[in-house]
């Protein structure tokens, strides 16, 4: 085809593209398409296989504990890898375990992962790894954080790691003279109720004391105050006296592994932060056991914490004439600015006694000072309740002012103020400017009278709490104010 066979004219020397006929025919076969497909399939299979085989990691252990090839690596009870082989390390002081992870668990091989061989452990408060008593041993993993860098060589732990405390728990350390039977994991009790546990018991750096690192569960962290006391309740106390034999032990676990009991005084100090150090006493003093603090803890607080009224100080000043002299008098408590611009407080806070000299009264709050002409007292409740009887005199007043209130004063939504005290008593919280001073009062400690709620005498409410707003734990509405008068504590409206 390329070469003209017969040409009438003498051949003109033209450059002819000469392809090798053999090669071109060689490639003419349609079977080459199949070759291409096969090549793609081959590559595809390699790719697929790579996707489906997990990475190989090595873990160095000091001790094999009877681990065998094909034993599992488990996490949360499922297999995420298998031991491929185990060998002695070159220095003969440990073993190296080769583990093949499953493809999905590839991210487990990252910096910070902890491995240990699970074997039966009989400790006092728990029996761990019982499944390994008869079955095969397995390797357990404490996974690394999500963004950790990938890694393929690990050093395994000799035993299960100390369980790291839950997020948000309060870590404190207790110094004791002697270990006194305390074990890792022993409970910390408040009124016999577990609020945390010992993470680790060890000697202090200078070996002068025994230090117990404790974690208090997040919901109970507000029970631990600066002035809390801790004492060792380890083991049992056997008292043998005239009255007979007295065995004192709380729970079996505590009897065996020891425990720490704590109490917070009836006037709780501010909460502590992580790292706080307490002394661990051998036994409680008698009055510690009678302390009855009212503290908000757990979910009640976390639900309301961001949502508590912020009372501010208010003072009423006036002048009186006594023995012919003008004397300055003042009365101070708390008030609650509302979003509609009015201010709620005890009505005694807005009206000076009759003995006051005319035009000498002044209200001061949030850096504003108001003369009588500058504020307008209005009553909170409707007219109907006012004229019903003399008894139901308004204890809580509302006033408005033409003077600007500083903008940095937090205001409580006006629609979240109840019109009157609820018909039945409920759990309440006394709001305080300082969140750690918030006091909770259980409904059982409240008694309803015809006009107000009386607070049980056992509940310690400081004199300074006079005039603080009270929030219902159920509806989180402001339902009244604290009124302390002649030692009687009331919630009034």
């Amino acid at each position: 085809m390329n070469e003209p066979e017969t040409s009438p004219e003498p051949p003109i020397p033209t450059a002819l593209l000469q392809t090798n006929p053999t090669i071109s025919r060689w490639f003419a076969s349609r079977l080459w398409l199949l070759t291409l497909v096969c090549g793609v399939i081959s590559l595809g299979l390699f790719w697929y296989s790579r996707q489906n085989t997990g990475s190989l990691i090595t873990i160095a252990f000091r001790e094999g504990h009877g681990l065998k090839p094909e034993d599992r690596l488990t996490y949360r009870g499922i297999e995420i890898g298998a031991v491929e082989k185990i060998e002695l390390n070159p220095n003969r002081d440990g073993i190296v375990v080769h583990v093949r992870l499953t493809p999905r668990a590839r991210s487990m091989a990252a910096e910070g992962a902890k491995f240990w061989i699970v074997r039966p452990m009989l400790s006092i408060d728990a029996i761990r790894g019982l499944d390994t008593l008869l079955g095969a041993k397995y390797i357990a993993i404490d996974p690394p954080s999500v963004e950790a860098r990938a890694q393929s060589h690990f050093v395994g732990l000799d035993s299960a790691p100390i369980i790291s405390p839950a997020d948000g728990s309060l870590e404190i350390s207790l110094d004791a003279k002697s270990r006194g039977g305390l074990e890792n994991g022993a409970p910390i009790l408040f009124r016999g109720f577990r609020i945390g546990n010992i993470v680790q018991v060890s000697l202090a750096m200078d070996a002068r004391t025994v230090r117990a690192r404790c974690a208090i569960d997040p919901e109970y962290r507000d029970i631990i105050r600066n002035n809390s006391k801790f004492w060792n309740r380890s083991g049992w106390r056997l008292e043998f006296g005239l009255s007979g034999l007295k065995l004192d032990a709380d729970t079996l676990a505590q009897m065996l592994s020891g425990g720490i009991e704590m109490a917070t005084p009836s006037e709780p100090a501010p909460s502590v932060s992580t790292g706080h150090r307490f002394f661990l006493y051998d036994k409680p003093e008698a009055d510690w056991l009678t302390w009855q603090p009212s503290m908000v803890h757990g979910q009640t607080l976390s639900r309301l914490a961001s949502n508590m009224p912020q009372p501010i100080r208010i003072a009423l000043r006036w002048q009186e004439r006594s023995f012919g002299f003008r004397t300055n008098q003042q009365r101070s408590s708390w008030c609650l600015p509302l979003s509609d611009g009015s201010i709620l407080c005890l009505s005694e806070q807005t009206t000076a006694p009759k003995s006051a000299l005319a035009d000498s009264t002044q209200i001061e709050f949030a850096g504003v000072s108001l003369s009588p002409s500058q504020f307008q007292v209005s009553n909170t409740t409707s007219e109907a309740s006012q004229d019903s009887s003399v008894e139901s005199v308004e204890k809580v007043g509302r006033f408005t002012t033409s003077e600007p209130i500083p903008v940095d004063v937090l205001r409580w939504p006006a629609d979240r103020v109840a019109a009157k005290l609820p018909d039945t008593v409920c759990d309440v919280l006394i709001a305080h400017a300082d969140a750690s001073s918030v006091v909770a009062i259980d409904a059982g400690r409240l008694k309803k009278t015809s006009i107000d709620w009386e607070i049980d005498e056992q509940v310690l409410v400081d004199r300074d709490y006079h005039g603080l707003p009270v929030v219902s734990a159920d509806s989180s509405e402001v339902i009244g104010f604290i009124d302390i008068h002649k030692g009687k504590k009331r919630i009034v409206r």
Binding site: W26, L31, C38, S42, L45, F46
Partner: protein, 163 residues
């Protein structure tokens, strides 16, 4: 002109199929071919991995037999076919020699027999252990097919035709 063209076409086909077989060969040998699950233990092995395991366990004889008859000889046969179909580069005598060699190798190349062995195993053991084929099986079957096609397409007359 017709006859040599036929030869050339057959050579093209042979080369295409043989090269396809070569491309599939690594996948067939290196990738896991069997995934056995017995009592919760998962184990997978490739042909080459299995042979290495046999070596490690000291079964040298069986390991060598399998290595030679299912890896070395099949590969040699395919390579010989490619060489034969590559006409231009070879001398006639060399080609004849290669052809005879290939004929001999072909008798001992047992790749297809191995496939049969796997099949028998699947049927016999399916009650005892749970196992499935790995990705290498596809490559293996295709590789056997391709080398067969290459052998069928090959026209020995081409050897004695002068290019």
């Amino acid at each position: 002109m017709d006859i040599p063209r036929n030869h050339e076409r057959s050579q093209g086909r042979t080369a295409a199929a043989a090269i396809a077989a070569v491309l599939l060969f690594p996948a067939a040998v290196l990738l896991p071919i069997l995934e056995v699950e017995q009592l919760g233990h998962h184990h997978q092995s490739s042909i080459l991995g299995g042979i290495l395991e046999l070596f490690r366990n000291g079964n040298y004889f069986i390991a060598i037999v399998i290595l030679v008859f299912s890896i070395v000889l099949p590969l040699a046969k395919i390579l010989a076919l490619i060489e034969l179909s590559w006409l231009c580069s070879l001398q006639q005598r060399h080609r004849a020699w290669t052809y005879r060699l290939m004929e001999q190798i072909g008798k001992w190349s047992m790749m297809d027999v191995m496939l049969l062995a796997f099949l028998v195993m699947l049927i016999k053991l399916s009650g005892l252990v749970q196992f499935h084929f790995g990705p290498a099986v596809i490559a293996f079957v295709l590789c056997v097919t391709m080398s067969m096609i290459a052998a069928i397409c090959f026209d020995p007359h081409a050897i004695w035709e002068s290019p």
